[in-house]
């Protein structure tokens, strides 16, 4: 072996931890501190890859949410809301209404738990019907008139007409700007893509790179959070809003995507054995069933290959 090659091999063995540094060879690697530095940096990057920020965000978000809702008395919040929403809340009563309010100055937050829905009127007069597992943060600047919303989940918006824009920011960098219109927006962080369906008026979708997509009534815009791509999607707009009349429209929808919808709507947890059936089984049609058991019965009837087990809130779907 050439001395140069031997030297090289020693350095590599030391870095990869296959050989301990001896006194003599320590000086060899010492001359190559640049390589050691690179090797250590790569180790740091490898450690970074072990930590997942989206899972951790869920924990942090929950913890912050808890603090917020503790601080604010519900009564005050209801009082501060506009008459219509207050009336709805009072009519439904607390037992039915499981969303939580908090309001500070011109900010308002509303969260719907899994299994619950609500509708409200925002201080500018816009109406929002909020589907399960959604979160809306509303900022209204009374001076500039700009309405800004941070939103995740699914909702139907009927935005009050104003010359000032109404801007919605979803997780993962999608933005939607409107001037007075109605549309459905689905942007659950755990979903593969987000969708906006326009009924009336005009909206503009954009991503963090400033790319834009303008929707006309009847059009559906789809956003891929991974690539930030915005595209028009073929489809029937009325199907996208099935949740408003308690229906789930399926168009070659995978079992796993459907499961997520069911988890949110009925506040249950669904697992699949083997997990691969989530991607293998697809459904097309309309689910009008109003209880989780009826839905599961329908699903197993439609596909003879599967059965389910239910223990409390935990549901397992498995091969027969």
């Amino acid at each position: 072996m050439k001395p140069e090659e031997e030297n090289r091999n020693t350095i590599i063995d030391q870095l990869t931890g296959e050989k301990r540094a001896e006194v003599e060879s320590e000086s060899r690697i010492g001359q190559n501190s640049a390589l050691t530095k690179i090797w250590e940096a790569a180790g740091f990057i490898s450690t970074m890859n072990r930590f997942n920020s989206s899972e951790a965000w869920r924990v942090v978000n929950q913890s912050i949410e808890k603090q917020n809702t503790r601080k604010i008395r519900l009564q005050k919040a209801v009082y501060a809301m506009s008459g219509v929403a207050a009336a709805i809340v009072l009519m439904l009563g607390l037992a039915v209404f499981t969303g939580q309010f908090s309001i500070t100055e011109n900010k308002m937050r509303l969260t719907t738990a899994y299994g619950s829905r609500t509708e409200l009127t925002l201080p500018d007069g816009s109406q929002v019907k909020l589907n399960s597992g959604s979160n809306i943060d509303y900022h209204y600047n009374r001076v500039t008139g700009i309405r800004k919303v941070n939103f995740e989940g699914e909702a139907f918006f009927d935005v009050a007409k104003s010359k000032k824009p109404f801007v919605i920011q979803t997780p993962k960098g999608m933005q939607l700007k409107v001037l007075g219109t109605s549309f459905n927006l689905s942007a659950y962080p755990e979903d593969k893509y987000f969708e906006a369906t326009l009924i009336e008026g005009k909206i503009e979708l954009s991503n963090a790179n400033g790319e834009k997509l303008i929707l006309k009534p009847g059009q559906i815009g789809s956003y891929d959070p991974l690539s930030s791509h915005l595209v028009y999607k073929q489809g029937d707009p009325s199907l996208e809003m099935g949740w408003l009349d308690n229906k789930i429209y399926l168009d070659n929808t995978s079992l796993s995507r459907l499961s997520r919808q069911l988890e949110r709507r009925f506040d249950v947890q669904i697992s699949m054995i083997p997990a691969s059936i989530g991607q293998e089984i697809h459904y097309t049609g309309v689910l009008g069933e109003q209880t989780i058991t009826d839905v599961l019965e329908a699903l197993t009837e439609l596909n003879g290959e599967i059965r389910y087990q239910m223990k409390g809130k935990n549901i397992t779907i498995m091969n027969k």
Partner: protein, 180 residues
């Protein structure tokens, strides 16, 4: 929260809005965890510590004024929290003598180190396919040279060559990037 720093463009984040806070979290969380892990050597504790730093940051957003690079601030806050954790762990286990509280940290190098790590990340991405595969298996998956050789059906000598090639490539890639 006020961020007072004119040099850095991406410091225009304002924490008054939750979405920006979320963005910053996504951007820095794994990095801060890896940094804290170097101190604590405990994954779960590292995650708890960094999450706590972010929660405190959000709760204190009206009071806290940051006079420096946001990442620099977060690194220091995480480090202090990590050291506190080590102290409380040590006193819990009553092993004060083994307490590594003297970890030497050069404040000004904290950010430079992270910038270097970003450059290394970029350069690893640019590695030639074959070298990259071997390098990742060795450094990221922690496989031994022999294990990699067996998996790929080549000799240990080839593995050594590939790792060496990768390191040389990274070195010159870094030289170019650092000169820019």
């Amino acid at each position: 929260m006020k961020i007072e720093n004119e040099d850095n463009a991406h410091l225009t984040y304002s924490f008054s809005d939750y979405a920006s806070f979320n963005k910053i979290f996504d951007l820095y969380y794994p990095r801060l965890c890896a940094y804290v892990f170097q101190i604590t050597n405990n994954s779960n504790a590292s995650e708890d510590i960094v999450q706590e730093v972010f929660i405190r940051l959000w709760n204190g957003r009206e009071r806290i004024v940051i006079h420096e690079h946001l990442l620099g601030y977060l690194l220091k806050a995480s480090r202090n929290a990590a050291l506190n954790y080590l102290r409380s762990e040590a006193s819990r286990k009553k092993t004060m003598e083994s307490l590594p509280v003297d970890i030497e940290i050069n404040e000004s190098n904290l950010l430079e180190e992270q910038e270097f790590i970003d450059l290394v990340t970029e350069c690893i991405e640019e590695l030639p396919e074959r070298s990259k595969q071997v390098f990742l298996m060795s450094r990221f998956e922690g496989l031994k040279q022999k294990e990699i050789a067996d998996k790929l059906g080549v000799s240990i000598k080839t593995i050594k060559n590939q790792i060496w090639k990768s390191l040389q490539y990274l070195k010159s890639c870094l030289e170019i990037k650092e000169a820019l």
